[in-house]
Protein backbone atom coordinates (compact mmCIF):
# COMPACT_ATOMS: atom_id res chain seq x y z
CA UNK A 1 0.00 0.00 0.00
CA UNK A 2 1.58 3.30 -1.00
CA UNK A 3 1.28 6.33 1.20
CA UNK A 4 -1.68 8.44 0.11
CA UNK A 5 -1.30 12.21 0.47
CA UNK A 6 -4.55 14.01 -0.24
CA UNK A 7 -4.93 17.20 1.81
CA UNK A 8 -8.11 19.28 1.45
CA UNK A 9 -7.69 22.15 -1.02
CA UNK A 10 -7.57 25.62 0.56
CA UNK A 11 -9.46 28.54 -0.96
CA UNK A 12 -8.85 32.15 0.17
CA UNK A 13 -10.77 35.17 -1.07
CA UNK A 14 -8.68 38.35 -1.14
CA UNK A 15 -9.07 41.92 -2.35
CA UNK A 16 -7.45 43.09 -5.55
CA UNK A 17 -4.89 45.38 -3.88
CA UNK A 18 -3.57 42.49 -1.78
CA UNK A 19 -2.99 40.28 -4.83
CA UNK A 20 0.71 40.94 -5.43
CA UNK A 21 1.57 40.58 -1.75
CA UNK A 22 -0.20 37.22 -1.42
CA UNK A 23 1.39 35.91 -4.62
CA UNK A 24 4.80 36.95 -3.31
CA UNK A 25 4.15 34.98 -0.12
CA UNK A 26 3.37 31.89 -2.19
CA UNK A 27 6.59 32.30 -4.14
CA UNK A 28 8.50 32.64 -0.88
CA UNK A 29 7.01 29.35 0.31
CA UNK A 30 8.31 27.62 -2.85
CA UNK A 31 4.94 26.83 -4.43
CA UNK A 32 4.45 26.36 -8.16
CA UNK A 33 1.83 28.37 -10.06
CA UNK A 34 -0.57 25.78 -11.41
CA UNK A 35 -3.10 27.78 -13.39
CA UNK A 36 -5.00 31.09 -13.66
CA UNK A 37 -8.69 30.97 -14.53
CA UNK A 38 -11.52 33.48 -14.89
CA UNK A 39 -15.31 33.12 -14.89
CA UNK A 40 -18.03 35.62 -15.68
CA UNK A 41 -20.60 35.28 -12.88
CA UNK A 42 -23.31 37.82 -12.01
CA UNK A 43 -21.69 40.53 -14.16
CA UNK A 44 -18.38 40.37 -12.34
CA UNK A 45 -15.14 38.57 -13.07
CA UNK A 46 -14.01 35.87 -10.64
CA UNK A 47 -10.28 35.24 -10.96
CA UNK A 48 -8.73 32.09 -9.48
CA UNK A 49 -4.98 31.77 -9.04
CA UNK A 50 -3.98 28.20 -8.09
CA UNK A 51 -0.72 27.19 -6.44
CA UNK A 52 0.51 23.64 -5.89
CA UNK A 53 3.02 22.20 -3.48
CA UNK A 54 4.80 19.26 -5.10
CA UNK A 55 5.97 17.72 -1.81
CA UNK A 56 2.76 17.64 0.20
CA UNK A 57 0.30 17.88 -2.75
CA UNK A 58 -1.46 20.80 -1.05
CA UNK A 59 -3.51 22.90 -3.48
CA UNK A 60 -4.24 26.56 -2.66
CA UNK A 61 -6.58 28.80 -4.61
CA UNK A 62 -6.62 32.62 -4.34
CA UNK A 63 -9.99 34.06 -5.38
CA UNK A 64 -10.33 37.71 -6.47
CA UNK A 65 -13.73 39.15 -7.45
CA UNK A 66 -13.51 42.32 -9.54
CA UNK A 67 -15.76 44.62 -11.52
CA UNK A 68 -15.60 44.45 -15.27
CA UNK A 69 -13.56 47.59 -15.83
CA UNK A 70 -10.96 47.16 -13.06
CA UNK A 71 -7.30 46.71 -13.96
CA UNK A 72 -5.42 43.65 -12.73
CA UNK A 73 -1.64 43.79 -12.27
CA UNK A 74 0.31 41.03 -13.94
CA UNK A 75 2.21 38.60 -11.72
CA UNK A 76 4.78 37.81 -14.38
CA UNK A 77 7.56 39.60 -12.48
CA UNK A 78 7.13 37.00 -9.72
CA UNK A 79 6.22 33.96 -11.85
CA UNK A 80 7.57 34.49 -15.38
CA UNK A 81 5.48 31.77 -17.00
CA UNK A 82 2.22 33.42 -15.95
CA UNK A 83 2.29 35.41 -19.21
CA UNK A 84 0.59 32.60 -21.13
CA UNK A 85 -2.32 32.34 -18.71
CA UNK A 86 -2.74 36.12 -18.56
CA UNK A 87 -2.68 36.53 -22.32
CA UNK A 88 -5.33 33.85 -22.53
CA UNK A 89 -7.71 35.51 -20.04
CA UNK A 90 -7.14 38.88 -21.69
CA UNK A 91 -8.10 37.44 -25.06
CA UNK A 92 -11.00 35.17 -24.16
CA UNK A 93 -12.70 37.33 -21.53
CA UNK A 94 -11.25 40.81 -22.20
CA UNK A 95 -9.91 41.23 -18.66
CA UNK A 96 -7.73 44.37 -18.36
CA UNK A 97 -4.39 42.85 -17.33
CA UNK A 98 -1.61 45.42 -17.18
CA UNK A 99 2.16 45.21 -17.49
CA UNK A 100 2.50 41.72 -19.00
CA UNK A 101 6.10 41.14 -20.12
CA UNK A 102 5.30 39.49 -23.46
CA UNK A 103 1.95 40.99 -24.41
CA UNK A 104 0.25 39.54 -27.46
CA UNK A 105 -2.44 42.29 -27.38
CA UNK A 106 -5.33 39.93 -28.01
CA UNK A 107 -3.54 37.92 -30.69
CA UNK A 108 -2.49 34.92 -28.59
CA UNK A 109 -4.93 32.52 -30.22
CA UNK A 110 -5.71 34.98 -33.03
CA UNK A 111 -9.46 34.47 -32.74
CA UNK A 112 -11.58 36.72 -34.92
CA UNK A 113 -14.42 37.27 -32.48
CA UNK A 114 -13.68 39.78 -29.70
CA UNK A 115 -13.94 38.25 -26.19
CA UNK A 116 -15.73 35.13 -27.38
CA UNK A 117 -16.44 33.61 -23.96
CA UNK A 118 -18.47 36.59 -22.73
CA UNK A 119 -22.25 36.44 -23.31
CA UNK A 120 -24.07 38.83 -25.66
CA UNK A 121 -24.10 42.47 -24.62
CA UNK A 122 -21.40 42.07 -21.97
CA UNK A 123 -18.77 44.03 -23.90
CA UNK A 124 -21.09 47.04 -24.31
CA UNK A 125 -21.93 46.90 -20.62
CA UNK A 126 -18.24 46.84 -19.81
CA UNK A 127 -17.56 49.91 -21.98
CA UNK A 128 -20.49 51.67 -20.30
CA UNK A 129 -19.27 50.86 -16.78
CA UNK A 130 -15.77 51.98 -17.70
CA UNK A 131 -17.07 55.38 -18.93
CA UNK A 132 -19.14 55.82 -15.75
CA UNK A 133 -16.17 54.96 -13.54
CA UNK A 134 -14.03 57.51 -15.36
CA UNK A 135 -16.67 60.22 -14.88
CA UNK A 136 -16.89 59.43 -11.17
CA UNK A 137 -13.11 59.66 -10.84
CA UNK A 138 -13.04 63.06 -12.60
CA UNK A 139 -15.90 64.39 -10.45
CA UNK A 140 -14.05 63.39 -7.28
CA UNK A 141 -10.94 65.27 -8.44
CA UNK A 142 -12.75 68.60 -9.24
CA UNK A 143 -13.86 70.33 -5.94
CA UNK A 144 -10.30 71.55 -5.01
CA UNK A 145 -9.99 74.37 -7.66
CA UNK A 146 -13.56 75.65 -6.82
CA UNK A 147 -12.73 75.99 -3.09
CA UNK A 148 -9.62 77.97 -3.97
CA UNK A 149 -11.50 80.49 -6.16
CA UNK A 150 -14.11 80.96 -3.38
CA UNK A 151 -11.38 81.91 -0.91
CA UNK A 152 -9.91 84.40 -3.38
CA UNK A 153 -13.37 85.97 -3.78
CA UNK A 154 -13.77 86.23 0.00
CA UNK A 155 -10.28 87.78 0.32
CA UNK A 156 -11.14 90.19 -2.55
CA UNK A 157 -14.43 91.28 -0.91
CA UNK A 158 -12.73 92.06 2.39
Amino acid sequence: MCKVLNPEPIQETIALDKLLFEVMKKKEAGLRLSQICVSYINEKYELSYSFADDESFQYTVLRVVIDLYEEVPSICKIYPYAIFYENEIAELYDVNVEMIDLDFHGKFYRIEKEAPMLPEGALEKKAQEEAEAKKRAEAAAEPAPEAQTEEENKGGNN
Binding site: R110, I111, E112
Partner: protein, 152 residues
Protein backbone atom coordinates in the same frame (compact mmCIF):
# COMPACT_ATOMS: atom_id res chain seq x y z
CA UNK B 1 0.70 6.03 -67.75
CA UNK B 2 -0.02 3.76 -64.83
CA UNK B 3 0.80 5.99 -61.91
CA UNK B 4 -1.82 4.75 -59.49
CA UNK B 5 0.66 2.19 -58.17
CA UNK B 6 2.61 4.78 -56.15
CA UNK B 7 0.62 7.77 -55.00
CA UNK B 8 2.37 9.82 -52.32
CA UNK B 9 0.41 11.09 -49.36
CA UNK B 10 0.53 14.38 -47.52
CA UNK B 11 -1.16 14.38 -44.16
CA UNK B 12 -2.14 17.67 -42.52
CA UNK B 13 -4.00 18.24 -39.29
CA UNK B 14 -6.47 21.13 -39.28
CA UNK B 15 -8.14 21.70 -35.93
CA UNK B 16 -8.45 18.08 -34.97
CA UNK B 17 -8.28 16.38 -31.59
CA UNK B 18 -5.52 14.07 -32.88
CA UNK B 19 -7.59 10.90 -32.89
CA UNK B 20 -7.93 10.71 -36.66
CA UNK B 21 -4.27 11.75 -37.17
CA UNK B 22 -3.11 8.88 -35.01
CA UNK B 23 -5.35 6.49 -36.93
CA UNK B 24 -3.96 7.80 -40.25
CA UNK B 25 -0.42 7.12 -38.99
CA UNK B 26 -1.56 3.74 -37.64
CA UNK B 27 -2.83 2.79 -41.09
CA UNK B 28 0.71 3.14 -42.38
CA UNK B 29 2.28 0.93 -39.69
CA UNK B 30 2.89 -2.79 -40.07
CA UNK B 31 -0.40 -4.14 -38.74
CA UNK B 32 -2.74 -2.30 -41.14
CA UNK B 33 -0.06 -1.49 -43.70
CA UNK B 34 -1.37 0.93 -46.31
CA UNK B 35 2.18 1.00 -47.69
CA UNK B 36 1.51 -2.22 -49.60
CA UNK B 37 -0.66 -0.05 -51.89
CA UNK B 38 2.47 1.87 -52.81
CA UNK B 39 1.75 4.96 -50.73
CA UNK B 40 4.49 6.81 -48.91
CA UNK B 41 3.92 9.44 -46.29
CA UNK B 42 5.89 12.46 -47.45
CA UNK B 43 6.27 15.75 -45.63
CA UNK B 44 6.67 17.83 -48.75
CA UNK B 45 3.51 19.22 -50.38
CA UNK B 46 5.25 19.70 -53.70
CA UNK B 47 5.84 15.97 -54.04
CA UNK B 48 2.44 14.78 -52.85
CA UNK B 49 -0.51 13.49 -54.84
CA UNK B 50 -3.16 12.76 -52.23
CA UNK B 51 -3.94 15.16 -49.37
CA UNK B 52 -5.41 13.67 -46.19
CA UNK B 53 -7.09 16.38 -44.14
CA UNK B 54 -8.25 15.74 -40.57
CA UNK B 55 -10.11 18.08 -38.26
CA UNK B 56 -12.28 21.09 -38.80
CA UNK B 57 -11.18 24.40 -40.24
CA UNK B 58 -10.86 27.46 -38.06
CA UNK B 59 -10.03 31.02 -39.02
CA UNK B 60 -6.33 30.63 -38.24
CA UNK B 61 -5.57 27.61 -40.38
CA UNK B 62 -7.83 28.37 -43.34
CA UNK B 63 -5.04 30.23 -45.20
CA UNK B 64 -2.54 27.47 -44.33
CA UNK B 65 -4.76 24.73 -45.80
CA UNK B 66 -5.39 26.81 -48.91
CA UNK B 67 -1.66 27.36 -49.38
CA UNK B 68 -0.89 23.64 -48.97
CA UNK B 69 -3.57 22.78 -51.54
CA UNK B 70 -2.16 25.33 -53.98
CA UNK B 71 1.39 24.04 -53.54
CA UNK B 72 0.46 20.52 -54.61
CA UNK B 73 0.88 19.93 -58.33
CA UNK B 74 -2.03 18.72 -60.46
CA UNK B 75 -3.53 16.07 -60.71
CA UNK B 76 -4.40 15.82 -57.03
CA UNK B 77 -7.07 14.25 -54.84
CA UNK B 78 -8.33 15.45 -51.44
CA UNK B 79 -9.64 13.01 -48.82
CA UNK B 80 -11.39 14.35 -45.69
CA UNK B 81 -10.80 11.89 -42.83
CA UNK B 82 -13.05 11.92 -39.79
CA UNK B 83 -16.40 13.52 -39.16
CA UNK B 84 -14.80 16.82 -38.12
CA UNK B 85 -13.25 17.23 -41.57
CA UNK B 86 -16.50 16.24 -43.29
CA UNK B 87 -18.92 18.58 -41.54
CA UNK B 88 -17.35 20.05 -38.42
CA UNK B 89 -18.39 17.23 -36.10
CA UNK B 90 -19.18 17.90 -32.44
CA UNK B 91 -17.51 21.29 -32.64
CA UNK B 92 -19.74 22.73 -35.34
CA UNK B 93 -21.41 25.12 -32.90
CA UNK B 94 -18.29 26.64 -31.35
CA UNK B 95 -17.24 30.19 -31.96
CA UNK B 96 -14.07 29.40 -33.83
CA UNK B 97 -14.81 26.52 -36.20
CA UNK B 98 -16.00 27.43 -39.70
CA UNK B 99 -16.98 23.89 -40.67
CA UNK B 100 -15.50 20.98 -42.55
CA UNK B 101 -12.61 21.02 -45.02
CA UNK B 102 -14.91 21.76 -47.93
CA UNK B 103 -15.29 25.35 -46.73
CA UNK B 104 -11.80 26.07 -48.03
CA UNK B 105 -10.76 23.47 -50.60
CA UNK B 106 -12.70 21.08 -52.87
CA UNK B 107 -12.98 17.65 -51.26
CA UNK B 108 -13.36 14.48 -53.32
CA UNK B 109 -13.77 11.66 -50.80
CA UNK B 110 -15.34 11.77 -47.33
CA UNK B 111 -14.38 9.18 -44.69
CA UNK B 112 -16.64 9.45 -41.61
CA UNK B 113 -15.93 8.18 -38.09
CA UNK B 114 -14.85 9.47 -34.70
CA UNK B 115 -12.05 8.40 -34.68
CA UNK B 116 -12.10 6.99 -38.22
CA UNK B 117 -11.02 3.36 -38.21
CA UNK B 118 -7.93 2.28 -40.18
CA UNK B 119 -10.08 -0.03 -42.33
CA UNK B 120 -12.19 2.95 -43.52
CA UNK B 121 -9.09 5.07 -44.10
CA UNK B 122 -7.52 2.39 -46.29
CA UNK B 123 -10.79 2.13 -48.21
CA UNK B 124 -10.65 5.89 -48.73
CA UNK B 125 -7.05 5.66 -49.99
CA UNK B 126 -7.99 2.92 -52.46
CA UNK B 127 -10.85 5.00 -53.86
CA UNK B 128 -8.52 8.02 -54.00
CA UNK B 129 -6.03 5.94 -56.00
CA UNK B 130 -8.68 5.11 -58.62
CA UNK B 131 -9.72 8.75 -58.85
CA UNK B 132 -6.09 9.81 -59.12
CA UNK B 133 -5.51 7.44 -62.07
CA UNK B 134 -8.67 8.78 -63.74
CA UNK B 135 -7.55 12.41 -63.31
CA UNK B 136 -4.06 11.62 -64.53
CA UNK B 137 -5.50 10.02 -67.69
CA UNK B 138 -7.68 13.08 -68.30
CA UNK B 139 -4.66 15.35 -67.79
CA UNK B 140 -2.62 13.29 -70.28
CA UNK B 141 -5.44 13.48 -72.87
CA UNK B 142 -5.62 17.26 -72.40
CA UNK B 143 -1.86 17.65 -72.90
CA UNK B 144 -1.99 15.51 -76.04
CA UNK B 145 -4.89 17.44 -77.54
CA UNK B 146 -3.17 20.78 -76.83
CA UNK B 147 0.04 19.54 -78.44
CA UNK B 148 -1.97 18.25 -81.38
CA UNK B 149 -3.68 21.65 -81.80
CA UNK B 150 -0.29 23.44 -81.60
CA UNK B 151 1.17 21.19 -84.29
CA UNK B 152 -1.65 21.97 -86.74
Amino acid sequence: MNIKRSPWLLHYDGSSCNGCDIEVLASLTPVYDAERLGVENTGDPMQADILLITGGINTQNAPVVKQLYDQMPRPKVVVAVGICACTGGVFKETYNILGGADKVIPVDIYVPGCAARPQSIIDGIIQARELFQQRSDEHDALMRSQKGAANV
